[in-house]
Symmetry: C2
Amino acid sequence: MRIAVLGTGMVGQTLAGRLEELGHDVTVGTRDPEAARARATPGESGTPAFSVWHAEHPRVRLATFAAAAEHADLIINATAGGASLGALTATGAENLDGKVILDLANTLDFSHGFPPSLSVANTDSLAEQIQRAHPTAKVVKSLNTMSCTVMVNPAGVPGDHLVFVCGDDAAAKAAVVELLRQLGWAQGAIFDLGGLGAARGTEMILPLWLSIMQKLGTAEFNFAIARA
Amino acid sequence: MRIAVLGTGMVGQTLAGRLEELGHDVTVGTRDPEAARARATPGESGTPAFSVWHAEHPRVRLATFAAAAEHADLIINATAGGASLGALTATGAENLDGKVILDLANTLDFSHGFPPSLSVANTDSLAEQIQRAHPTAKVVKSLNTMSCTVMVNPAGVPGDHLVFVCGDDAAAKAAVVELLRQLGWAQGAIFDLGGLGAARGTEMILPLWLSIMQKLGTAEFNFAIARA
């Protein structure tokens, strides 16, 4: 499948690298490809500079947001949540029309300290904002409730933990579920919450996720549900 | 222990009944005890009228918010989240001074449909509001991330599911942890998130909890964490 991964940070690198390994035709989209190629300093939390990562993943192409999305069947929004709407505007409505957008971003705002707040929450969600801004795209929210290492390697965390998925278009959701299966998620670990409004709930779990991460001292965990 | 349970609804009834069974001296607090005694119609979702429930739990006393809290060592806020600040104002600062307040309420607002929003979220929490309104009380947030039947009977849901606890006063948190242990929570199932600011995270999990409940068709489940 031709996949555009928007975002050159840790999440974008991790998704793009794994999807390319799985045989997909992957293009990473960024605002300024030349700037991304030139950047040589590591990002926060030790993320390799994109140029360093790219040298190790030569089959992944790098392009502008628009060029990456233009020929893609599925577009993954792995930009920082606060920048996602701008990145998708730069991608262009014509390159998103009819496409599946898998949104895994969170609008974390650390400007007021820890725990962070969300810049969109409660009565709206980033996923719904994206859907309203691009009504002919098919937005699916998933994978945003865990670290990117768990996204692409669910078996790295033992037990019956879950990935939530929601969206208003059944076919788009099915395409995302198929991608989740390829990433290693068992069918029973994929929890369909229904329509895209449920993204409010999965985005709002982030502050708790961060508190738990801080207490455990690791991001290598995931939410599960015990039931009677 | 002398415990005041504020609130006559399903959560208040369930907590008060179980704590009385465990040997505690329990008084349920309500705005108007005579009105509560006179109410004969069941509440939403089949909750028994308080008078019916009370006839089956004659050792639980009923009093005003203030009278219930006056002699209590620990006060449980089991009122509806949107009414909690008013209920605690009616309880009176003199009856809350130095006391532990276990807050298990959520500010769910269904007035805009499903999924509900929260009337306090993201940059604040109900627990912090209560603490600010009653600075000499010791507020602990816990048990708000599950149905009341699971609160008092964790073994009813199999597996290693969790109860979160947070608060700024270590002794108050220890008192609540002791109560959780009496309710059947194993030490390893009690996840201390730290200070009261973490209540934002546990309160914000409610929309997701409700979406999951709707999909599972039951409230008999709870969150768990799988970790590497």
